[in-house]
Amino acid sequence: MSNKRLCSASELERLRTGILAKRNPDKPIITVCTGTACQAYGSLEVFRRFADELKKQGSGGSVVEAKATGCHGFCEQGPVVVIFPQEICYVRVKLEDVPEVVSTTLAGDGVIERLLYNDPVTGERIAKAPDIPFYKNQVRIVFGNNKHIDPGEIDDYIALGGYSALSKALFLMTPEQVLEEIKRSGLRGRGGGGFPTGIKWETTRNASRGLKYVIVNCDEGDPGAYMDRSIMEGNPHAVLEGLTIGAYAMGSQEGFIYVRQEYPIAYQNTIQAVRQAEEYGFLGKGILGSGFDFGVTMHRGAGAFVSGESTALMSAIEGKVGEPRMKYIHTAVSGIKGRPSCLNNVETWANVPAIINRGAEWFNSVGTKGSKGSKIFSLVGKVNNTGLVEVPMGMTLRQLVYDIGGGIPKGKRFKAVQTGGPSGGVIPERCLDTPIDFDELTKLGSMMGSGGMVVMDEDTCMVDIARYFVSFCCEESCGQCIPCREGLRMLREILTDICEGKGKEGDIEAIEDIAEVMEDASLCALGSTAANPALTTLRYFRDEYEAHIKDKRCPARACKALTAYYIDPAKCTACMICRKSCPTEAICGDKSIIHWIEQEKCIKCNTCFEVCPPRFSAVRRISGEPLPPPPAPGTRVVREKKR
């Protein structure tokens, strides 16, 4: 073992004091978000340029430091650069902006106006991150440290008080007290089900003597959801610390971290974190000099959504195909290799250190009666500020979408928000004042799920949304049991037919029958919840289904088979913009000659609709009504004479 190994609680505190003593809190630090989303915008290159530029301008890290951190959450504005200690936030920073940012920071004089976030509501530029509405309304218990931490640097985590909760648990608390604290905190599983974490831990603890396992589930796969990825990438030690505390409470010596195949950065960062934790003695034999041993094995997924289901994940860890199995005996009692196995989601584990450090009462003070603490959501879709947001339980959906999300782009109308991924459902506008809470969302027919939140505007067809999620599950179900496999297959056929104008009487009843049987009789939770998107769209938007089936009309004008494009001759100014943009040359007419669409050539790509200048708004989408005749070929525009 290396000499970094810590052998007591006081050695950890000495190390922390030493790290802090070396750090000057007033020294400017340029942090660059290098989460997956910002990396896609080229943030890694931006970070490297910062490091080079600091050398070039003579500082080389002594006066100003550059740090690559995990996800800050404001993904829509990436690459995001925040300069501490003032927390000046620059958004959409490009390579060519770097020298100027460095020289301004070195000189310590002011901010670069054009790189600041421009609030679409007030039109004002905002300099400091905490003042941006997106951040201002959040409560970041789990996610808050991401912006201060280089995930490859364990010292960054320790400097922020990292592993003090583990030390407290090991030396000042018995396993029973740790368990009691988690039970009293009211923490519920963040992976979707919302099962009380403390009770799960207690079941595993009491299950049987001997070998038992604790598992981190990082197989997040809901479309549009990436909370767990950002925690795992940006702050892996928080998860490791929570897991180790859990293992201590349950009497487990062996843990697994399952990371899905599609998360290479999370996987790498976690491996590195495990190695560092072993070096420092936070993992391994006699942790921090106590008598407690605990080790962690990494497991990388093989690309199956269904492996996120607890029994499937455990099968995968055993080396079998990642398929669910019957769990009439809980996995907390009989999981991996028949041993008691406690599986929690990334975010659940990451909450544990904060609860141990600050106490169950504090955690209890945040949230609602039945749902305590905060929850991270990935707010995506038709909303101005997309990104990761952490809010106290009990915040209303409206606050989330409008106060943090900044509302719907392009002045469109809000229609629905889809929560909980393929297992969840859509929630309509009239339910927007519902507080976000495990039980409230379930009452609406949806679910918290892992935290995906897809906002939809008036242009989204609800039947099409149901079809999308059902199709997703058709491919991602394991296909073992008949209700899920054949039910999904048939739901997809029926929903596709409805979207294509081939719906018929009895379809709605057939959907409801299939959904009921899937819910009652499927082998696992994927199957029993896979019909929720269809059921909730039916519950709140039944009229849209009926319009598709009876009138062959798509009210959102989104289903291609039921929608036609038409240029209003009274409004067309023959400006040629749509004609030049049409990819299939379906638009006829010429300069000064009114345009019309040859319907046979039109592929309904929506381009003409989008490019027609709003002051003309000549392109219309028509559904469920006969198409007006085109103008006589060669009709010329009658222009008003200029006075």
Binding site: M326, C481, I482, M490
Partner: protein, 209 residues
């Protein structure tokens, strides 16, 4: 240890570790099954054996082939909810196995009992009718009893299928243990060995694979 439970209003004695299905059958109460085989570990995929169980006043639907007996458990093998599950399951699998507008064997029997309309989803079924409901009896028998592992599953979701591993095919010529297991009658009716998805033993032996 003897456990007493109630199945369809009848007091039934069972031993610890038994499943609801086993104890029902021992008591002469019939529950239909498609994927269950007494020599194989229950896998609970056909869901036809679903029953209602009541415990501490809470009722839920479980697969009786996998649910362990418990003292005081109340089981209902028939109810409107259960009948509907069985009816819809047969309706959903019928198009896969239909030959000349009819289904055969056990599925026909269950379909009649639960008044399934086997043509309900026929017009919407656009996949290739494989005549296989993926009960997995052949696969599991080959793995668990014979130990040859000549058949397995491939793909997932709606593309899941039973497949034959040609490298292992020689054993099948003499074994044929799976022939009488298939609840849809697919295997014994196709003794030319063109049974599993695209592979044929004859082709393999002739060196064409």
């Amino acid at each position: 240890m003897t456990i007493t439970l109630q199945i369809d209003g009848k007091e039934v004695k069972a031993r610890k570790g038994m499943t609801v299905l086993e104890s029902a059958r021992e008591a002469g109460i019939e529950i239909p099954t498609l994927c269950y085989h007494e020599k194989l570990k229950p896998c609970g995929v056909c869901r036809i054996c679903s029953v209602e169980v009541e415990k501490k006043g809470k009722t839920r639907v479980v697969a009786s082939c996998g649910f362990p007996v418990e003292q005081g458990l109340v089981v209902r093998t028939r109810s409107p909810r259960i009948d509907k599950i069985r009816k819809v399951i047969i309706e959903l699998v019928a198009p896969t196995i239909m030959v000349d507008g009819e289904v055969a064997g056990e599925i026909k029997k269950i379909g009649k009992e639960y008044r399934a309309d086997i043509h309900r989803f026929e017009s919407r079924f656009r996949a290739k009718p494989t005549r296989c409901i993926l009960c997995g009896q052949c696969v599991r028998y080959c793995n668990e009893v014979v130990g040859e592992h000549a058949i397995g599953f491939m793909g997932r979701g709606i593309d899941r299928r039973a497949a034959f591993f040609p490298e292992k095919a020689r054993a099948c010529l003499t074994c044929q243990a799976c022939f009488n297991l298939c609840p849809t009658g697919k295997i014994p009716s196709e003794t030319d060995f063109v049974v599993f998805d695209g592979f044929s033993v004859d082709d393999y032996l002739a060196g064409e694979l």
